[in-house]
């Protein structure tokens, strides 16, 4: 369990993270979402004690991580796949890490096997693709068999097969009762991975809730109705409190479920050609909620 409490980090005059409070629970995959530069990496560094918070606290399983003598059995982390020395082999890199934490050497082979790098274990990391480095970083995180795992943008550079594998791995780790905290700036990456979401923008918390609750926030959810009697139905639905957009014979309805729309149409003998429920798009919800907090927005399209 990771508990972040009123966490603030300032670098000189800029505030990278402001008053963040959230909890990451065991047994599920929690996505950590935010646009580029929103403070995700800063937050993760503070979780790991690499950066000291200006104010506030963060604990992992009840203790600040910096208080631990050795870390790998408590938290496994992949912060940046580039944080390795290119001149070493994957096996040598992991052997040194394992040794520092008194983890048996045999474990190195096990995790390399697990991430699919066993065949490349003796090659220099400098020659690895980004996807292979991500796998190596994941192997390092798994080394200590820890109850808490942190991954910063782990899907970058992975091929589709790799993405599928990583998602499966995260689910598996969570199912074993571990806390799995995964950051990303792309909602689509989280859609099939996370159960819970922590969303931040410009260093401030926007949402900390389940994926389904978050999706419901987006205005994209609703019902599409096609009827020759659009104006009458629109009036009835508005009377029921729905938001309706009329576009020829197509109505886009939000706020009233499809079943109720069907009932109303039947009661008033309105012919329906089509009635479809559209699921909320997570991407839409994410874009809407973070629109105000995008640090580097592209210019308006003309």
């Amino acid at each position: 369990m990771i508990e972040v409490n009123e966490l603030t980090k300032r670098y000189g005059g800029t505030t990278a993270v402001k008053d963040l409070t959230f909890t990451v629970r065991p047994g599920r995959v929690t996505g950590f979402l935010g646009p580029n530069g929103s403070g995700k990496s800063t937050t993760l560094r503070m979780v790991l004690g690499l950066h000291a918070p200006t104010t506030g606290t963060v604990t992992v399983d009840g203790r600040p991580f910096r208080d631990r003598q050795r870390g790998l059995r408590h938290v496994g982390a992949l912060l940046d796949a580039g944080q390795v020395h290119g001149g070493r082999s994957a096996a040598a890199h992991l052997r040194a890490l394992a040794r520092s934490n008194r983890i048996p050497r045999a474990r190195v082979g096990t995790v390399l096997e697990q991430v699919g790098l066993a065949g490349a274990a003796r090659r220099r990391i400098g020659g690895y693709s980004l996807g292979m480095r991500q796998r190596l970083g994941i192997a390092g995180a798994l080394l200590g068999d820890p109850p808490v795992l942190l991954f910063d943008e782990p899907l970058n550079g992975l091929d589709p097969e790799g993405v599928k594998w990583v998602r499966g791995l995260f689910r598996e780790l969570a199912a074993e009762g571990r806390t799995v905290f995964v950051s990303s700036h792309l909602m689509s990456e989280m859609e099939h991975t996370a159960d819970e979401l922590v969303v931040i923008g410009r260093g401030e918390l926007i949402a900390a809730e389940s994926l389904t609750d978050f999706a419901a926030r987006g205005s994209g959810a609703g019902v599409t109705v096609r009827t020759p009697d659009g104006d009458r139905l629109a009036a009835l639905l508005t009377g029921e409190g729905a938001t309706v957009r009329v576009d020829g014979d197509v109505l886009t309805v939000a706020g009233v479920p499809a079943a109720r729309i069907g009932e109303l149409a039947l009661d008033h003998r309105i012919l329906l050609h089509e009635i479809t429920t559209r699921g909320a798009s997570l991407e839409d919800a994410f874009m809407e909620l973070t629109a105000d907090s995008v640090e580097y927005a592209a210019g308006e399209t003309r």
Binding site: R25, P26, G27, R28, R45, L48, G49, L50, H51, A52, F65, R66, D67, R68, Q69, R70, G71, L72, R73, V75, A77, L79, D80, G82, Q83, V84, H85, G86, G87, R88, S89, A92, H93, R95, A96, L97, R99, S100, N101, R102, G140, D145, P146, P147, E176, G177, R178, T179
Partner: protein
Amino acid sequence: MTTTFASHTAEPRPRFFDLAAAEWLKLWSLRSTGWSLLVAALAVLAFNAGKAWDNVRYWPDEAGYAEKFIADGIPLMHAFTTDAGTVMMLATGAFGALAVTGEYSTGLIRTTFAAVPARRSVMAAKVCVVAAVMTVFGAVVAAVSFAATQAILSTEDAGVSLDHPGAPRLVIASALLAPVAALVGAALGTLIRHGAGAVVGSVLVLLLLPLVLGEDRHWSAVLAHATPYVAWMRLGDSQYDPGAVPYPWTAGGAWTVYALWALAAAAVAVTTVHRRDQ
């Protein structure tokens, strides 16, 4: 619904030895380590042996020259020349600096400190490994230099053995120059956190600083004596004449300078990482 994960094994007691072993693995798993040490050793050896060879090649054909040569302490001067000392400090200072900054330039330091949050212990382990490797390196280079130069001079019967007065001190002081310079480099590495910057910094501190400090004024002489390079020259000088310089000092003082630099540099390397964001 959720189960809480229980680790399979209890956590073993943390040991400093494991950190040192990890640093050892890190050092020797880089191919550049062995090569750079070999090149540095050969360079130092070349400067020393070259000087001895030069002497032998242009050996004057006069009676009693070898005895005078030995009486003037010249065999010991050739056993570890000032050029070789300069190269040795340059190479080992850079070695110490890069042992630290190599982790910063790649960001590996974050991986390291996330694995071992006890940062000071990590740096202490690194300092121990660098100091140990450099001491062995210095000892081998100084011993081989002594043996090679005296063997070359012996062709004209001008070589001395290790029991010659001043010889053990020269060999030990030259050997220890390596760990002292490497620790200074490592300390600058933790302060500057940038490879090229740390190497330039160690050249400034180890080599340029003693050049600008003269022996003529008292304050300047004191500062000069406080540099490892001048301390090494004092320890290597078997013919040191306190009457010949305005501000003489003792070999004990020179050993103290060695010790203080090593300890201060180690302290800086270990404590700097504690508070700073990584």
